[in-house]
Amino acid sequence: MAQLALASDRTPRRSGLAGNVLPVLVFIVFAALPLFAAFQAEAYVLGLVTRVMIFAIAALSLDLLVGYGALVSFGHAAFVGLGAYAVGILSAHGVHDALISLPVALGVSALFAWATGIVCLRTKGVYFIMITLAFGQMVFFIATSLAPYGGDDGLTIRMRSTLAGFPIFNNDRSLYYICLACLLGAYLLCRALIGSRFGRVYRGARENALRMGTIGFEVYRFQLVMYVIAGMLAGLAGFLLGNATDFVSPAYMAWQRSGDLLIMVILGGMGTLHGAIVGSAAFLLTEEWLSGLTEHWKVIFGPLLVLVAVFARGGLIGVGTRLRGLLGG
């Protein structure tokens, strides 16, 4: 039991086939889906899965913090909101090109991550959770008070981003593939980070910060850099979300949304990266399905999450690993 839970935390094995089957499969499904969706309710399916991929990017970046650094951030949605507001506010002023709005979205997220990370990372455990929550709520309330940009009601984005003048975000299908490309890029980046020298020190800090310090690493600096990277990736998700929904609102950065992101990571399986993608898909698709069945879908969804938390340690990925272990002998 413990062994299984631990296995996924070790350094990713050298590109073993078995370890890569699931991620490859996930991306093949994402890539092939629009071909099948063409036959029925295309707009609905594409919209839903685009949303899944966008949240998967945010969950992926949160997994960097929670799964590999034991930094349980309860304010991660703030970065998503900042990215989305960057698109919305610039668009309200007639700036639509992604060549400007994307760097702004990433820059604002990075700046916020750096400024808050300096404070948050001085704390540990529950205090870290509380302080990230506090900073998240701070941004949330600032957004609700932005009267020129819709305040509480949010802000409709009248025109989606263009790229060097080309309206590539306008078409549902091309937006879908942009999101897929971003997700794939984010996933590969995260994998490279985790296995790199930098990532190894970062993971080591989670294992034993005291030992890392006496070896000669100032772990705080590594955690801060990772916090900024994770914030920027979530900002990227926000940039895409604003474009996908043509709308931004403070609700994007509410603490409930941060909680959703945490659930996605835990549901899929922390510290695996692809678990975050599976988790976002499972979360959003279950939510979609249940809310179609009944208005009171949360009454079913809540207990379902509790069951996963109790019986599926290591999340859905953990269950998969265990099943494979049973079947394989």
Binding site: S196, R197, G199, R200, L210, T214, I215
Partner: protein, 250 residues
Amino acid sequence: MADPVLRIENLSKSFGGLRVTDDVTLDVRAGELHAVIGPNGAGKTTLINQISGLLAPDAGHIAFAGEDITGLPAHRRAERGLARSFQITSILPRFSVLENVALAVQARNGSSFRFFGRAADEAGLNSPALAALAQVGLADRADAAAADLSHGEKRALELAIALAMEPKLLLLDEPMAGTGRDETDRLVAVLRSLKGRFPMVLVEHDMTAVFALADRISVMIYGRILASGPPDVVRNDPQVVAAYLGDEME
């Protein structure tokens, strides 16, 4: 005589009303193994923690290789070549044995702000790490998870991590703590093979090991240095015998 590698002057530290380090003055010369012995609660580990930078002293100075390091954090001291082992094993349990040591190599080997390229595949980090493991007899366990090692093996890993830092001074806080006779003998042999390569401070309760290894011994009681000198002198010091060795040497 050349300047000592480590010079501790009038170091004091109190926890509340308890003086755990009481005006300690001590030096460690190039190449020597300086043992610090004393009963439980004498303040030996507290002293090691102050030398390695985990605890700030209330008063006094610590100079390492001619530089005052009293105010430096632990990681800066490690960068200067001050390595230590812990009395209570302090390793990265979910990392492989090799990676535990490779990280220590990495700390002294170029920037760690490299975001691409698999660190686990870097031969430049792995081969010195394997060499350090071979020195303590753990080379064949390199791929095991550190958590799966036996207690004695963990003690050896603890030592290998410190060795991989290419120390200019090695602080050993009870390296034999909790090991069996065979393992203790093995660790004593390893330490003997290291003698002369760099100076060491050895805190240890195993008197056989201490008298087999030490060039000089300081006896600590209630936070004070009671006596300091070559093993033969300390062994026969009436004060030391009365306060500590009397019942240890039976």
